[in-house]
């Protein structure tokens, strides 16, 4: 970290003491945070190698032919359909539950914010395998018989990501002032939420959606132990029939999900730029365009 190119170089690099490595920062030239300095290249290249080589190896194993035949396999459509349905239901419940809650906590119960953060982080660390053991024990029979029990519990799993993006989004603009202004102009709660808060929160809601969808499309543990064939479960089951096609399917899923998220993010950012909101940053929307441009 000491090698981070920084403002300290004003003093001239000759004064650097303590033998701290200064990376490849050219001597006598001020390092800028903007530039692609060598240490950053190094990190990005190492990360790129670590993340891309396994993908490449898998593509080579599967062979290009397998990618085309994935969609024709039995169970592909039904399992993908189930996963997409679960993703949609989970997202809707998550937003309907969490947007009003996050707004309310910010406005009325700011003291609860720490507590909320603590509670909403729990599902990341509580093992899903423990949660599903308990859930199958306590869930009422009519829910146990449907795959939609999974959607209900996925809402809990998505909570850490959803709440954090909404929280970051709410911090990025002056919610209190806007709401007070709206109220003083005679706006009721409903219209304030609909016409003031939601438009400002759009990017944060988009982030929450993106993260929730990614989670549901990739979740395996609970679905497999609940014995429903969602897409990730189908991939594993199908692996026993045909290895290469199963690998191709999982690569395809990875790539399509990523592309989907990228499209959502780009669209959201474009929309936000028009309305003056923040950049979709998935987790934090804190860095907004400072507003001086307009």
């Amino acid at each position: 970290m000491a090698a981070v190119a920084g403002a300290g170089s004003q003093l001239g690099d000759g004064q650097v003491a303590g033998g701290q490595p200064r990376g490849g920062l050219p001597r006598g030239r001020a390092g800028t945070r903007d530039g692609f300095t060598p240490w950053r290249w190094l990190i990005l290249i190492v990360a790129g190698v670590y993340f891309l080589i396994p993908l490449y190896a898998a593509v080579r194993f599967a062979g290009w032919g397998s990618f085309g035949s994935v969609v024709h396999q039995s169970g592909f459509t039904s399992s993908l359909g189930l996963s997409v349905r679960l993703a949609a239901i989970t997202t809707v419940i998550t937003l309907v539950l969490m947007v009003p809650t996050a707004v309310y906590v910010h406005l009325r119960l700011p003291r609860l914010r720490r507590l909320m953060e603590g509670i909403t982080i729990l599902p990341i660390v509580i093992p899903p395998v423990v949660l599903i053991v308990g859930l199958l024990q306590v869930a009422p029979g009519f829910l146990k018989g449907t795959p939609y029990l999974l959607a209900l519990i996925y809402v809990v799993l998505a909570m850490p990501f959803a709440y954090r993006s909404l929280d970051a989004g709410l911090r990025a603009f002056d919610l209190k002032t806007l709401v007070e202004a709206s109220n003083s102009l005679g706006g009721g709660w409903g219209s304030t939420l609909w016409r003031i808060v939601l438009p400002n929160l759009r990017t944060a809601m988009l982030s929450a959606t993106v993260l929730t969808v990614a989670l549901v499309l990739g979740e395996y543990t609970m679905a497999s132990l609940d014995l429903y064939q969602t897409f990730p479960v189908w991939i594993v089951v199908f692996d026993q029939t045909s290895g290469p096609i199963s690998v191709a399917a999982s690569l395809l899923a990875l790539f399509v999900t990523w592309l989907f998220l990228l499209v959502i993010t780009v669209l959201g950012t474009r929309q936000a730029r028009r309305t003056g909101g923040g950049e979709v940053n998935l987790f934090a929307v804190a860095r907004r365009n400072s507003g001086r441009t307009s």
């Binding site: 000491a2 300290g8 200064r22 990360a47």
Partner: protein
């Protein structure tokens, strides 16, 4: 709970002479305050109920089940005793060792990567690609992930072959994908992206003004990190590492695909109870194992909350 304390009683004028009619303002105002804060709390009731049903109830079922005898349902400690001995105790220790490796290492690497992405001010495209990719990879796992690494670092994998051509025999140097360290390498594939996702908000908290102020006072880069950036980031960093620890402890799909019996891990052992591979009289040992994981996580969580508090104080 804080609310009862913080909700101020509605403002009675503190001049008693002006309002002789109000002889005892205390009781009614306190009651009104309590009522008001109770009404205020109504707004979080749906969330609270959902979490209680979706998170609380299953956890309670596991905890209660851990102390129930399978036949009759009376109180017993035998589940817990079984769960903390023999192969299960070994499973706990292996799980903890793996989780420590697979949280500290990706924590550091993820922080570096997140910083590289975050500080690339002109790299809006890079940021977008990297962050969406992080969201996808953080949810990647199971058989597909295991396969990716078997094709790469398995004994006849691609990278193994490349290294061999370069004159380095990976497996000759004691590496194997099916040992704890091998599994840790695989875990990093979703742990590093998770770290990037959770540490980014903390990086957003590093105000550029601090850096400029430090520079104006003559601080060098390493001094800035030693005295400003580091202390600010440290609590969140540790909190995020604890999060990774929990995530790695919970990992099931990848562990199932990678280890299949070679390394005993607690989450797999719990799963096998759910799949019905149970000895008679041990039906509830799985729940005791679940309780064990929850206890380990709880200890980590307590640390996490303490650390988050400190981070918040710094960043305010």
């Amino acid at each position: 709970m804080d609310e009862l304390v913080t909700a101020e009683a509605p403002g009675f004028p503190s001049d008693p002479g002006a309002r002789p009619g109000v002889s005892a303002p205390e009781p009614p105002s306190r009651a009104a305050g309590a009522l008001r804060s109770a009404r205020r709390a109504l707004g979080v009731v749906p969330f609270g109920v959902y979490m209680a049903l979706g998170l609380g109830a299953p956890l309670i079922a596991v905890v209660v089940g851990a102390f129930q005898s399978p036949n009759g349902g009376g109180f017993t400690l035998s589940n817990v005793k079984t769960a903390t001995s023999g192969v299960y105790l070994h499973g706990f220790s292996q799980s903890i060792v793996l989780s420590v490796i697979a949280s500290v290492l990706p924590g550091i690497l993820g922080l570096l990567l997140a910083y590289a992405i975050w500080s690339a001010r002109r790299g809006a495209v890079l940021r977008r690609v990297a962050i969406t990719a992080s969201a996808v990879f953080a949810n990647f796992g199971g058989v597909p992930l295991a396969f990716l690494f078997i094709a790469t670092l398995g004994s006849s994998g691609l990278a193994t072959k490349w290294l061999n051509d370069l004159g380095f025999n990976l497996y000759g140097h004691g590496f194997s994908l099916y040992t704890l360290s091998g599994v840790a390498v695989v875990y990093m594939y979703f742990q590093i992206p998770l770290m990037v996702l959770v540490i980014l908000p903390a990086l957003e908290g590093l105000r550029p003004a601090w850096r400029e102020a430090a520079a104006n006072m003559g601080a060098r880069t390493w001094q800035y990190w030693r005295h400003v950036g580091g202390p600010v980031l440290l609590p969140s960093f540790l909190g995020c590492v604890l999060l990774l620890f929990g995530s790695s402890l919970s990992a099931y799909a990848t562990a199932e695909a990678m280890t299949s019996g070679t390394i005993p891990l607690t989450s797999i052992q719990i799963g096998s109870f759910l799949n019905g591979n149970v000895l008679a009289g041990q039906q509830n040992v799985g729940k005791a194992l679940g309780l064990g994981l929850v206890v380990i996580i709880a200890v980590a969580m307590i640390l996490y909350v303490i650390l988050q508090r400190r981070a918040a104080r710094w960043l305010q």
